[in-house]
């Protein structure tokens, strides 16, 4: 029996035949059960009826199979919905929501329902191509391509050292791709220039969790959606960005009408339509708002003193605006390396620090009425109600994103509403394996697997031991973070760069700064499945196998590791990204890194990687177990997953009989750190010359740069091009109406696009919104490359623009 089938729900079966000897019967019965109609549906039948019905069904099952179905997690966002893919004659023809998946329970969103379409665009890349001197592309063989990469990376290493090579990866990398890249770059080339697009996406959440718990990723899980009473969404348009999870909240609200959804945002979105309270703050002032809530919690004595005394310690970092900067001006422009320092603090200091954030003062900064701030404080303070805070890009893509992450978690620490069902700060992720690959494997310039870092000698030794490399192999100096990596490429400090599964020439902020022409003396390889603006500037293009065209593992937002098998063949000569890396490493004389047989390397690679996680509170399930299940949430100890980290009775690492134990935070005496973080203004604010705030973001139908979703007819036709949302009053003043074209200019660039007024999103006066999926209308020509001081994640949500009628 396959693991897949064993994973079907069989508990409580009274039928011995269900042990899996009879394939058809087993499948059908399990499917009935999954539908929840097994026993009850048949209960009305007499025994003979039942037998007849079963015989009927068995006969039906003898008919030749129509489609073959296989499980996989969805390829798009970080929710990690389970899907079943219907395959016939080597082609994916259909998907359906996986009823057995605890994430989505059969439901999908419009992107998920249209998954197979993205694989079949006529312009799929099917063979390696090298750019000629005249700019045209020439088809070459894999051998030639791999030799060329090995030669270019080899010569860069030899002539310019490990700082001159770079790999720019992705939160869409499978665990295999990320692990192969990590091992090759850090263990093979002795470089740390490995960073992912997830740096642009959830690095602030990583640093939030690391600074407070010294271990990354949330303590809660999706079960919080059924256990929470109040859901506070911080700058998070969940109805469009995490629709299936939002459905779970709506269902919770239906079943328990007292449930409240609070939308704390800078613009009205479809999420606001479902909110019980809409709180609108001025861009960047969420820092003040969160401090204002903390102020009231302390003042109203709505805090959990016993919890604080037992589990929390206080810290304070560098708060001087001049010293920190924004990473985009003056001396910091080429490389931004600000490092925060943790200083011990106390509860008394916190109280004093919060004196500044009275509701009236916060109202003046944020524009949020003092009464609303009081309501929010009341919600967080109500000990009898369960509170979940959710956030994604609004908080993370923020010049003080780590601070904002800290403050939201502070709200939960100070009230003791953490690591309990329905009480958690929960950061959502935007990519399918931002957690599984980037955060857990550690494909960041400073990281190693399982929360370890290259700066720590012990951590390096652990990695060297598992990898069988001599001591001192791994470089202790962190490499370039994403934005600096591209600045270094533009400068010429990076000579050879490999980009996989991502599209930086659409997504980097302040794009014009990174413009490049092939043949500028640097060597850029791009592995992708379709032509994109990034392949347009590549010297070498490699065709990748996507999603179900290869075996893979993703890890979603709730720490769930999900495995899938190869279900169809990739088109042409397309190959999976991990294979590409392994082949190059072998050509560079690093075959010792990948000692596994060529036809069976996934499982041994995963099991090697898994060794990093065991015993560290990040324990992954065995590959064998992952194959059989719809994913498991780590830590998985003795084959059992963990819903709530740090919680007694849930987390096997907690030995206490009740309460919580932040056992990973060794540096804080195994307590969580509550950080004092002040308000700082954004890097650029509107003025007379550029009077509008620009916020960028996504729409439900398109995922990231649209290179996949725009190739799906139904999705493209729903939102065919980018547009600019303008407030009706502003539009009146500008003399434009829906459909008119306008020019949008910032200090860095300009674009032209049509206006939309009162569409799905409604911006307040003085703010405009543009989605970033449209490569023919690059909003990142306008954005600013200002970064979070700690995570180095750029702020795509706040810069100043001017709007003119298009000529």
């Amino acid at each position: 029996m396959s693991g897949y089938r064993q994973a079907k729900p069989t508990e409580g079966s009274d039928d011995p035949r269900e042990s899996g000897h009879h394939e058809h019967r087993f499948d059908r019965r399990a499917a009935l059960k999954a539908l929840g109609i097994g026993a009850s549906g048949i209960a009305a039948f007499s025994c003979s009826d039942r037998e007849k019905a079963e015989r009927l069904q068995d006969e039906a099952a003898q008919i030749p199979a129509d489609l073959d179905w296989g499980k996989a997690p969805c390829r798009f966002c970080g929710t990690g919905c389970g899907v079943e893919v219907g395959v016939k004659d080597g082609k994916a023809l259909a998907v359906r929501g996986d009823l057995a998946s605890p994430v989505n329970r059969g439901l999908l969103c419009v992107k998920g329902y249209h998954l197979p379409g993205f694989l079949y665009g006529e312009d799929r890349l099917t063979h390696p191509m090298r750019r000629q001197a005249d700019g045209t592309l020439e088809k070459i063989t894999w051998d030639e391509a791999l030799d060329l990469i090995a030669e270019k990376f080899g010569s860069a290493l030899k002539d310019h050292g490990p700082e001159s090579v770079a790999v720019y990866g992705s939160g869409q990398w499978t665990v295999f791709d990320g692990y192969a890249a990590l091992k090759w770059v850090k263990g093979g080339m002795k470089s740390n220039n490995l960073d992912p697009n997830a740096r642009l996406c959830m690095a602030s959440a990583v640093m939030g969790f690391m600074t407070q718990f010294q271990s990354d990723e949330p303590m809660g899980c999706y079960e919080d959606f059924e256990a929470g009473d109040d859901f506070l969404l911080w700058g998070n348009n969940m109805a469009e960005m995490h629709p299936v999870l939002f459905s779970r909240i709506l269902e919770r609200k239906r079943q328990s009408p007292g449930t409240r959804i609070i939308d704390i945002a800078t613009r009205r979105t479809p999420t606001s339509d479902y909110a019980d309270l809409y709180v609108e703050f001025r861009p960047g002032s969420d820092l003040a708002l969160a401090n204002g809530i903390l102020h009231l919690l302390v003042k109203n004595e709505s805090i959990d003193r016993a919890f604080l005394e037992e589990n929390v310690t206080f810290r304070r970092g560098i708060e001087d605006l001049e010293q920190i900067g924004y990473g985009c001006y003056g001396d910091q422009a080429e490389r931004y390396t600000f490092k925060d320092e943790a200083k011990e603090s106390t509860f008394e200091e916190l109280v004093q620090f919060l004196e500044d954030y009275t509701p009236e003062k916060v109202e003046a900064i944020s524009g949020v009425p003092a009464a609303q701030i009081r309501s929010l404080a009341e919600m967080y303070g109500q000990g009898y109600r369960n509170t979940v805070s959710l956030w994604c890009m609004g908080v993370n893509q923020h010049v003080r994103g780590t601070w904002m992450n800290n403050l939201i978690t502070d709200l939960h620490l100070i009230t003791g509403k953490i690591s309990r069902p329905g009480n958690n700060p929960f950061s959502l992720t935007g990519q399918p394996s931002a957690c599984g690959t980037v955060r857990e494997v550690g494909t960041l310039s400073n990281r190693l697997p399982a929360d370890m870092v290259v700066m720590n000698e012990e951590h390096r030794k652990t990695a060297e031991e598992i990898w069988g490399l001599p001591e001192g192999t791994i470089n202790s100096k962190p490499g370039y973070h994403a934005v600096d990596m591209f600045r270094a490429l533009s400068r010429g400090d990076v000579k050879a760069m490999w980009i996989q599964v991502t599209n930086p020439w659409v997504t980097m902020p302040n794009l014009e700064r990174f413009e490049r022409k092939p043949g500028d003396g640097r060597f850029v390889v791009v592995s992708d499945i379709y032509p994109t603006p990034t392949t347009d500037v590549a010297d070498l293009i490699l065709p990748s196998a996507a999603w179900i065209e290869r075996e893979g593992v993703f890890g979603n937002s709730e720490r769930r590791t999900q495995q899938w098998n190869r279900l169809i063949d990739p088109p042409g000569e397309a190959k999976e990204d991990a294979w590409q890396i392994i082949q190059v490493a072998k050509r560079m004389g690093m075959e010792n890194l990948f000692p596994w047989p060529e036809n069976d390397w996934h499982e041994p690679m995963f099991e090697e990687y898994r060794r990093f996680t065991l015993g560290r509170g990040k324990d992954l399930a065995s590959y064998e177990q992952l194959k059989k299940t719809r994913g498991l949430m780590w830590p998985v100890v003795d084959g059992k997953e963990t819903s709530y980290r740090y919680a007694a009775g849930h987390d096997p690492y907690v030995k206490k009989s009740s309460g919580v134990h932040f056992y990973k935070a060794k540096g804080y005496g195994e307590r969580a750190a509550l950080w004092l973080r002040p308000y700082h203004p954004p890097a650029e604010v509107p003025d007379e010359a550029f009077p509008f705030w620009l916020c960028t973001g996504r729409v439900l139908e398109h995922w990231h740069t649209g290179s996949m979703t725009r190739r799906v007819k139904e999705l493209h036709q729903a939102v065919p091009k980018a547009y600019i949302e303008i407030n009706r009053a502003d539009a009146l003043e500008l003399g434009v109406k829906t459909g008119d074209r306008v020019r949008v200019l910032s200090r860095r660039g300009e674009i032209e696009l049509p206006v939309e007024i009162d569409g799905r999103g409604k911006t307040p006066r003085g703010t405009v919104f543009i989605p970033f999926f449209d490569e023919s209308c690059l909003v990142n020509r306008l954005t600013l490359d200002a970064m979070d001081s700690i995570s180095k994640e750029p702020d795509y949500k706040k810069c100043a623009v001017r709007i003119e009628q298009a000529p």
Binding site: G41, G106, L108, Y113, D123, S247, E714, A718
Partner: protein
């Protein structure tokens, strides 16, 4: 029977005509077959990527919430046509406050961005069968999200081939059992 079918085909065609920017009537004819009318099955297929995918919304955006017209029985909307019932009216885990546009999207353009070779699964009625003549046919599709059988099997929106002859017998699954799949699951 043929007359009824044709009537409903016309109704369907006019309903999609409203949603598109094309000239009236352009949607009615079959490409390559001048004067030929699209079958209900054709119209159904045109509105979704594959059998099982959520259909796109074939009309323009009207003011009231979707469920005003697409309630659990469907209503005749003057000047528009019959609004089919909501087949998810009894779906567990799907709130009546759920966001329809999470899965069903409008067609704001008739263009494709880049051509695609994707051919989705087509609906086949061949899986619907009875043990013997007169026995109740089995349910050949998954019931999840389609718990409200009446949405597709009764009323004006029901296609002739799957129209229920006895809607007064309310509890369908008393006689019709779901065979959710004939399919094999892919092995390692």
């Amino acid at each position: 029977m043929i007359r009824t079918l044709a009537k409903w085909m016309l109704l369907f065609s006019s309903a999609i005509g409203l949603g598109c920017q094309e000239e009236p009537g352009a949607q009615d004819s079959v490409p390559g077959r001048p004067g030929g009318l699209k079958s209900a099955g054709w119209v159904r297929a045109e509105r979704r990527a594959f059998d099982g995918a959520p259909p796109v919304i074939p009309h323009r955006r009207f003011g009231p919430p979707c469920l005003t017209c697409h309630n659990d029985r469907g209503i005749d909307v003057a000047g528009v046509g019959f609004a089919p019932a909501n087949p998810h009216a009894r779906t567990e885990g799907l709130s009546d406050r759920s966001r329809c546009e999470q899965c069903h999207v409008f067609r704001h353009s008739e263009e494709v961005w880049t051509p695609s070779d994707f051919t989705g699964l087509r609906q086949t009625l061949a899986n619907s069968r009875s043990a013997y003549q007169g026995a109740p046919p089995v349910i050949p599709h998954r019931v999840f999200m389609r718990e409200n059988c009446f949405a597709c099997h009764t009323g004006p929106a029901a296609r002739e081939a799957i129209r229920c002859t006895h809607p007064e017998r309310v509890r369908c699954q008393q006689c019709h059992v779901p065979v959710t799949t004939n399919d094999r699951f892919l092995q390692e």
